[in-house]
Assembly symmetry: C2
């Protein structure tokens, strides 16, 4: 006998939770498609040489890789590198700008620890241009995400937007061009470490106190998003990159409004810098209001070149990603999820006496009317049938005895409040549809 | 520069095909849920000791396994063993009979060859009983599959049903009890090898010519399903297993009719024996009429004990599985798939002149009405916009110039037949909804 256990760091839900998780997946996919993003589904396994063309450093250790047959294979650790491969491979068959979504599991072989997953769902959208990609797509992408989080109904959230060009331009203007990548990585951590720590670490980089203060004043600029943009414009910083960044940010913010993103659901935040050098312009992070400690639940940004390791074609892109596994578990832990029934069926039909044929025929009719339903088929005492129905989470039981068959009326029992009523077939369909 | 290639034996579709593939996945899932099956989603990676508790022989070589950290891991090669683990692990939290579905990718590290996949989707339903599971569930499972293939609209198909108890009982009755597993494996191949070959191989098993003839007469019994059952009953074979098998088969066939399975879509076929010793009663295979050479597109059966390697609890089950990747590729190759647009959006909105704001607002309105649509956001000449729209497969382009904005009417161009008309906002929504 072997103990039936699941690997640590791998989420495996009971059916009621799985139904709720799938409902989120459905909301995400539906909204991706509403905005015209096209699905792709790349393999979980790739040739190591291909998938790791770019990777290095920290990521390397976290990759599940192994030899099989004549090659070295590895499991994908994100959906971005597979996208790069896919686009480079299918360059002539795709329509650019290419709006793609992918929802799938990715793998990180890290040590298991609380809140970390080794298998988790990523839900990504990216728009890839060939040569050029208009800044307007930088407003489209967070607008899609806004619609998703609204529909998920998990409380207030805020999509923070910035543009790395603003920071790069500003740092260049105050003469810190050479240290800008390091400084951006520190700014990215500003919220987590405190101000003293930030100053101390900046000093270690040999940055003059005067400049440290300038940087802090700059990144903590106050006001609402429109005021911040006006302030950024009025600072009179003579740097082309800076000006480009401010102009891009302004366009993105304005267009997000046009896309219908509610005013309180997005903001300008210069503290958003993102750790990855990869990003070159717009950057985003998303926090749940009141649960900021969860960290960003949806992030992303603009990059200059998606697939430089695979093709000479220049492919700029903009994307965002939801790490749904982690988000779902955090929502559960913090009791933010609405209580749901955890049932797939609207009704369960319980035969009483010799009515099986009628029960099955009734179930056929309900399904023809797009009502999910189950017929209980075990030949057991009625108390066992009603006990099964009670545990199932299904709201309504339809009791079908010989009397019901003869009278053409069914007894409908609400399994939550215990109430019961009799309905004819047509009424029953109407009732269950509502 | 690295060549962006995908592993052989791994399906990776272009978006238009992916959309069609996803439509099939949706049909499968929707019907699984219509019949009340609950979703589960087990990890792709499992602990080797757990996943391979039962496996052996041929399968072993095909498993992707590797060491990581302190353990030996492997990728799932089907969804049945993970189900066994899941049920044994969650025995006290599940409601029995447990109706579960799982749709996911599985992995077989075999040599790549035409028509074989190393990563492919399986779409499984199983009903698991605790202690006992009524034979009626053996009629439910193929009835679900019937609804799926009907909705897929891939032509006529036939679900063939048999019951291994009938063959075991018959072989016992003619004194071949000890060789029954080998004989069933041969019967399973009867259609592929010819009759002479079958006889020759049976002779090698030292089966008397007289008995070989009896077996052939028995398994090729003629008539429609009802006639076959009557013949089986009238053969007067005094064997309890045989009688049980015939009675079960009759119940299953009758109830499949009650579940609404059309008469020409299922049959009794004693040649269906299934190769696996695992199955103990009802067995199924499904063929596409006119494309029998594709082999079975949906198979399964009844087993006595799902999880004997993990628990002492006896867990009988009945299940069927669709190998969607292989089916999809075969349908494509044989041109059986209906031509589809391969588009996610119903319409693409093309700004002409300075109408971007209006275009985005129109897209918001369409989406609020559940219409998938894309706004083209690149700042390029109109001919490039219309070229993008033409390649996209999207049926309608909505042209929004300043005239259109002023007149409150939009030009709708049918990109397939080139026709064009003007519609106001409300008419437009109605038009696109139909």
């Amino acid at each position: 006998m072997v103990e039936p256990k699941t690997l640590a760091g791998f989420m495996e839900l009971l059916p009621a939770d799985q139904i709720q998780f799938n409902r989120f997946l459905d909301i995400i996919r539906k909204n991706f498609e509403k905005f015209g993003f096209l699905p792709i589904d790349t393999p979980v396994l790739e040739i190591s040489e291909v998938l790791l063309a770019k990777a290095g450093g920290e990521t390397d250790k976290q990759i599940y890789s192994f030899k099989k047959g004549d090659g070295e294979l590895c499991m994908r650790f994100d959906l971005t590198v597979p996208l790069a491969k896919y686009v480079a491979k299918n360059l002539n068959q795709l329509n650019f700008p290419f709006l793609r979504y992918q929802i799938g599991k990715v793998y990180r072989g890290e040590r298991p620890q609380k809140g970390r997953f080794r298998e988790f769902y990523q839900c990504d959208i990216d728009v890839i241009g060939k040569g050029l990609l208009d800044i307007k797509y930088d407003a489209l992408v967070p607008s899609v995400m806004y619609n998703i989080f609204k529909e998920m109904n998990i409380g207030d959230f805020c999509i923070s937007v910035s543009n790395r060009k603003i920071l790069f331009g500003f740092l260049n203007y105050i003469g810190l061009n050479e240290k800008s990548q390091e400084i951006l990585r520190l700014i990215d951590k500003y919220k987590k470490i405190d101000k003293e720590n930030f100053i101390a670490t900046m000093s270690e980089l040999n940055i003059a106190d005067e400049n440290i203060q300038k940087i802090i004043d700059f990144i903590t600029i106050s006001g609402d998003k429109w005021e911040k943009i006006e302030k950024l414009k009025s600072l009179n910083i003579q740097d082309e990159t800076y000006k480009e960044g401010v102009s891009e940010l302004e366009q993105v913010i304005k267009l997000m409004s046009t896309f219908g993103v509610g005013g309180k659901f997005f903001d300008v935040d210069l503290l958003i810098a993102r750790g990855l050098d990869y990003y070159t312009g717009t950057v985003y992070e998303t926090e749940l209001v009141g649960y900021e400690s969860l960290g960003s639940i949806c992030s992303g940004g603009r990059y200059d070149n998606l697939a430089g390791y695979y093709t000479n074609e220049k492919l700029p892109g903009i994307g965002m990603s939801i790490g749904l596994t982690r988000l779902f578990v955090k929502l559960k832990e913090n009791d933010i999820l609405a209580k749901e029934s955890g049932a797939i069926s609207s009704a369960i039909i319980l035969p009483m006496g010799d009515t099986l044929t009628e029960c099955i025929k009734l179930s056929n009719t309900l399904r023809e009317n797009d009502i999910n339903c189950e017929v209980y088929l075990q030949d057991v005492k009625f108390k066992h049938k009603i006990s099964y129905a009670g545990k199932s989470g299904i709201k309504y039981a339809i009791l079908v005895g010989e009397d019901e068959v003869n009278n053409g009326e069914y007894s409908i029992k609400n399994l939550i409040d215990g109430s019961q009523q009799k309905l004819g077939p047509k009424q029953l369909i109407e009732f269950l549809k509502n």
